[in-house]
């Protein structure tokens, strides 16, 4: 009860005295917890990362690893109280271009949302309003942040639809979402999120609901638009192929925490966490010869209410017994630097991991 009464609103702990960072976006020790009848769901439990303008960060992980909760946390969408009385408990710091968002005035964050940071959602059919035309929705997004008349805003909407490759944009602008195909809806969503030239774009599973051919179109579009607008992009997905196409940096999440983070070449070619090995081993690949067998991760993802003690991955890790003294089951590993700008959270020594990767894992992939 005391927990509940304390959380009248999302509790944003005041930012510490730490100085404003130099990076465009910096997330420090972000925690998003949801109180439930069964206990506290620690969806995100201490996440730290940086992102520069013009760069793309890929966040990968299985369902329930906290990817989407992180993105909603950055956008400040947890505070709206969509979980009834039980609101999210958010702590940590999110610095966007010198402003700390969690302790900032909600009105100020509202001005930033949509203008400085925008989001592309996974399912365009449920993210677009079925009662309004595509044009009306884009115009609304534009006029909230720009004091222009409807005509100008409409011209802008047509221009954006044209930019994202919708044929006959001046006619299509008056269509309703149901008159668009899946790929076109996703394009319209992208047009809407880019209408204010945001500096940070978060794409949450932008292509999961689409076919491969359309996916290729959308990935191309995101890449081109980023080049053109120079914005920072966060791509959230479970598909390693998609992040490999887009991301400069990669962050692998497991059980609400980051288990490995680094430049995507490093994470793909020299991964230093057994979970990343598992992800790479589980996916059939078209660019390699036919594998005899996939190497799945045994077991299933953990419950976020009751994470395994020690390393959250230990019940599924084939190498849990490599470090001595049962340390994997008692002590939670912290991220440690394993290469330049490459971090992993594992108890195994770096030599052990290097040896296992080169001798046991890499040859089988």
């Amino acid at each position: 009860m005391t927990e509940l009464s304390k959380s009248r609103a999302a509790v944003a702990e005041p930012a510490g005295t730490s100085p404003a960072p130099s990076a465009f976006l910096e997330v420090r020790d972000l925690k998003v917890h949801f109180p439930t009848d069964d206990g506290m769901v620690k969806s995100v439990d201490g996440l730290t990362f940086k992102l520069e303008k013009g760069k793309t960060l890929g966040i990968v992980g299985e369902s329930g690893s906290g990817k989407s909760v992180t993105s909603l946390g950055i956008m400040g969408l947890h505070t709206a109280g969509q979980y009834g009385k039980r609101k999210a408990r958010i702590s940590g710091e999110i610095w966007l271009d010198g402003t700390e968002l969690l302790s900032a005035d909600p009105d100020h964050v509202r001005k930033l949302r949509g203008r400085q940071m925008a989001m592309i959602f996974q399912d365009p059919l449920s993210a677009l309003h079925p009662y309004y035309t595509i044009g009306q929705q884009i115009v609304e997004a534009y006029r909230i942040h720009h004091p222009v008349d409807k005509k100008t805003a409409r011209r802008r909407a047509v221009e954006m639809l044209d930019r994202v490759g919708i044929p006959q944009p001046d006619k299509r602008v008056d269509n309703y979402p149901h008159e668009f195909s899946g790929g076109m809806r996703q394009r319209a969503m992208i047009a809407m999120s880019l209408v204010n030239n945001p500096e940070l774009l978060i794409a949450d599973e932008p292509t999961t609901a689409l076919d491969v051919t359309v996916q290729a179109q959308i990935l191309d579009l995101i890449r081109d638009l980023q080049k053109e607008f120079g914005s920072a992009v966060i791509v959230i997905t479970h598909d390693l192929g998609v992040v490999a196409e887009l991301a400069d940096d990669l962050l692998v999440m497991y059980g609400g925490r980051c288990v490995e983070r680094g430049p995507s070449e490093k994470v793909f070619y020299q991964p230093r966490h057994p979970y990343t090995w598992g992800l790479l081993g589980s996916m059939p690949r078209l660019d390699r010869d036919q594998q005899e067998r996939l190497i799945p991760v045994k077991g299933s993802p953990p419950s976020l209410i009751n994470l395994p003690s020690g390393c959250a991955f230990n019940p599924r890790c084939p190498y849990a017994d490599v470090p001595k003294d049962d340390i994997t089951r008692t002590v939670r590993p912290e991220l440690s630097e394993v290469g330049s700008n490459h971090w992993a959270a594992c108890h195994m020594s770096q030599e052990q991991r290097e040896r296992i990767w080169t001798e046991e894992i890499a040859p089988k992939l």
Binding site: V212, L219, G241, A244, S282, R293, I295
Partner: protein, 402 residues
Amino acid sequence: MTTPAKSGATLTKDAAPGEILLKVTGLQKHFPIKKGLLQRQVGAVRAVDGIDFEVRAGETLGVVGESGCGKSTMGRLITRLLEPTAGKVEFEGKDITHLGVGQMRPLRRDVQMIFQDPYSSLNPRHTIGTIVSAPFKLQGVEPEGGVKKEVQRLLSVVGLNPEHYNRYPHEFSGGQRQRIGIARALALNPKLVVADEPVSALDVSIQAQVVNLLDDLQAELGLTYVIIAHDLSVVRHVSDRIAVMYLGKIMELADRDQLYKSPMHPYTKALLSAVPVPDPSRKSAKSERILLKGDVPSPISPPSGCRFHTRCWKATQICTTTEPPLKELRPGQRVACHHPENFADQAPQDVVLLSAAKEAAEGVADAVLAESAATSAAVAAEVEATAAASADGAKDGAAEQK
């Protein structure tokens, strides 16, 4: 191609590996569109529009295509969950196209299905025991040692704890539920299992577990699979032969390695090139990608001639008028295309590209175009040489045309 007489065919219990287990000819399914007070039919969605293929005992046939290409409808037609509009489905030489519910019942034992969504395909009010034992009850089969024992054996076969017999579906994770669905499908020791997107609702790590399980079960029980999926890398991993569908038609049907190494149909080539590769060094290798413009046309009024001509970069006049037949151009590789990739042109006299094709070619990198022209020329020369060498060049599909 003669079809065995209906009466003469008998159901033998085990088809030898390599024998044709399921044969489909000219299969069609049109869903009527009705309008107005009288519900008059004003059109039809041509979900499956005339497909031919066969499934051999012991093999895995993969079926790929974009959403709306009719692959799931095809799966439901061959399991007779939908009534075909036209065409013929033969199972073990017996025509089952129009069998009634009662006549189908004994066959249901041999043909089972695994569904896509492990959340909606299990009754939430039944225990796992009830769910997996339902096939025994429906078929009136009494396994040795009793139903419960057999169900527990099945659960352990698919990697679940037999003690979970009395649990309900909500107590299981997605991957475990999919295993329950697999256990149910295997209960009556079927010959053919049709799996409709068996892993697409699962997480990557779990997906691999289920793919391996399907693999193991096939090796152990000698099952025949038809696996319908949209993920080309999963399909390559599990299949022996692959059918590529587009707008209710089979565009290419080929052995796995041939299809992935040298796809002949431009659509197959575009589909393969669109798969994102988990290798960051190829990020900038846009040169290999073929971007198809626009969307799949509506199956209510599919394009004339070749259905792919509206998005194909090789389309010419003949493609708009004549539908290319699905022809075996190379042993084990059947293609429906006038201007195949990696092979001699089937309509060399027709060279003028459509304006749509020129537009589509913008999405294709120059390197791809050049390479494809080179390989086609090389193959054409080779074909000509073999045609000249062999006295009766009639055997060769390409030579036939000349």
